[in-house]
Amino acid sequence: MSQQHARASRGIELRGVEKRYAGRHVLGPIDLAIERGGVTALIGANGAGKSTMLTIIGRLLDADSGRVEVGGLDVRVAKPKELAKVVSILRQENHFMARLTVEQLVTFGRFPHSAGRLSSADRRAIHAAIAFLDLSGFEDRFIDELSGGQRQRAFVAMVLAQDTDYVLLDEPLTGLDMRHAVGMMGQVRAAADALGKTIVLVIHDVNFAAAYADRIVALADGRVIASGTPEEIITPEVLERVFKTPVEVLEHAGKRVAVYYRP
């Protein structure tokens, strides 16, 4: 329990993390600590290194140097099995050769716990995740028959079924319309609040970050140039440095809104 607590307090830590392609820095060096709990949004221009950083944290990509710890585990050396119970990651594009139903997909999320043999606790977790993302009644539908919003929710349900303290989502709003994007962010928020997860996500639309995130990390040219609360980050000065385009910031219902459509 005390060990659990020590791990719990650690959050996500990056120290001197670098990634180069053909000698060119695409990321880093990055030193960053993301505390435990809540929703953290990574924002930045295209090619700023948001997804690269997220996939390095989620150990899908090896950094060239530096150290990444998630919940006290070094992602480079920790046992893959143990890591899979601490951190889960959902990438932007998921194409499978197998044809899976929603329930089969979500069931895979339990693999680190069940090794494929489902206990009744596993089944409860699967159905809880499906219900949490409003997919009850869709269990037997094939994921390639779902709408974009439903499919995205099914993948998030799979990641939630994995029941890790840390959940990484790479642009979960891609391809979602207004209604579904709002629904998705509501569910992400609820997962952090009701289930106590630490959620880190890459977001393209800064206004979603402003409206839902507890912390925002802004990247530009592979470096973290600012991190803090939405109030600290969603300002014309910071956003213009991040996106290199004129931005006006308004206040609406207590949240910041960036307006940048016409310079």
Binding site: A98, F108, A115
Partner: protein, 303 residues
């Protein structure tokens, strides 16, 4: 048509009248068919799983070409009378060569940080072409009689299998089968690709290398027994995916083995007993498999 059967049974079929001799040859054929069916179908399904791609065949890794090259090299170096190397030692040497090649290739390509499955497949294709070219270069320098012997060896045939090899092959195939079956649930995850596998806690690199070496072992066992077959495994696996109730390996693997067995048995029975053309079994199966491959390729391409 009966050329290679006569080679094995100098007295000719039906003339000895000795029941047990016939039974023995039939039994050898049956066990050969069983082993080839298991080896090819498991190898292909595993290969599809590891590469997360269902329109590949293990021969893309250049094993068939390596088999052809090693056979050609044997005839080239030792001549027709050859042999100095026959029976078990030859088969063991053959298998060690192919598995050693696989382990080196995968181990080397997949150990670095640049580990990349597609790069590895590409290297396999290029090496396959290289082996093929070297083999045909050597073949050009053979005498006609040597070339004739080589052609007979390279021509896949059920009745060509060496009975002495069956116990070894059987033990290896059974061992691999037990291992594969015990890991069938992990294969379901592996089939979802690298990112999901890593995310769900599989040791991805290790899985890829181990399973590709297993594929190499199975393919080389099958090739050593009946010669190279490119599309038979593909035919069997594709039918299994089509008819299995789900995509889980617990469902696909037994079905693939079953379909492989039935296909090979039926083809052998029909061709041997109705058309007296036992030597054509693998040719016909390869033809059907190749046709199916084209159909699947065109359909997927059009979508």
């Amino acid at each position: 048509m009966h050329g290679d059967e006569k080679f094995h049974h100098p007295k000719g079929r039906g003339r000895t009248g000795a029941f047990w001799i016939i039974m023995q040859t039939r039994l050898v054929s049956l066990v050969t068919i069983l082993l080839v069916a298991v080896a090819q179908s498991v190898a292909t399904v595993l290969f599809h799983t590891v590469t997360a791609n269902r329109i590949l065949t293990p021969s893309i890794l250049g094993f068939d070409a390596l088999y052809v090259l090693s056979q050609t090299a044997l005839v080239f170096v030792f001549g027709v009378s050859s042999t100095g190397l026959e029976g078990i030692p030859k088969i063991v040497a053959q298998s060690v060569l192919m598995v050693g090649f696989a382990t080196l290739l995968y181990g080397w390509l997949f150990s670095g940080r640049r580990a990349n499955l597609h790069l590895m497949l590409l290297v396999g294709v290029v090496l396959g072409i290289a082996f093929q070219s070297i083999a045909s270069f050597l073949q050009r320098m053979l005498t006609p009689s040597e070339f004739d012997v080589l052609s007979a060896r390279l021509f896949g045939s059920i009745s060509k299998a060496d009975p002495a090899y069956l116990p070894i092959a059987g033990a290896i195939v059974l061992g691999i089968l037990i291992y594969v079956w015990s890991r069938r649930r992990s294969y379901d995850v592996l089939a979802l690709g690298r990112d999901v596998s890593v995310g769900l806690g599989l040791k991805y690199r290790r899985e890829v290398v181990v399973n590709l070496v297993l594929v190499a072992v199975l393919v080389s066992i099958s090739a050593t027994m009946v010669g190279p077959m490119t599309f038979y495994g593909f035919l069997v696996a594709t039918l299994a995916y089509q008819f299995a109730p789900g995509d889980r390996h617990a469902e696909v693997l037994p079905l693939a083995i079953g379909i492989g067995l039935v296909t090979l048995l039926a083809a052998t029975f029909v061709l041997r007993h109705l058309f007296s053309a036992a030597g054509l079994v693998t040719v016909i199966i390869e033809f059907v498999g190749g046709a199916l491959f084209l159909i699947v390729l065109l359909r997927k391409g059009l979508r």
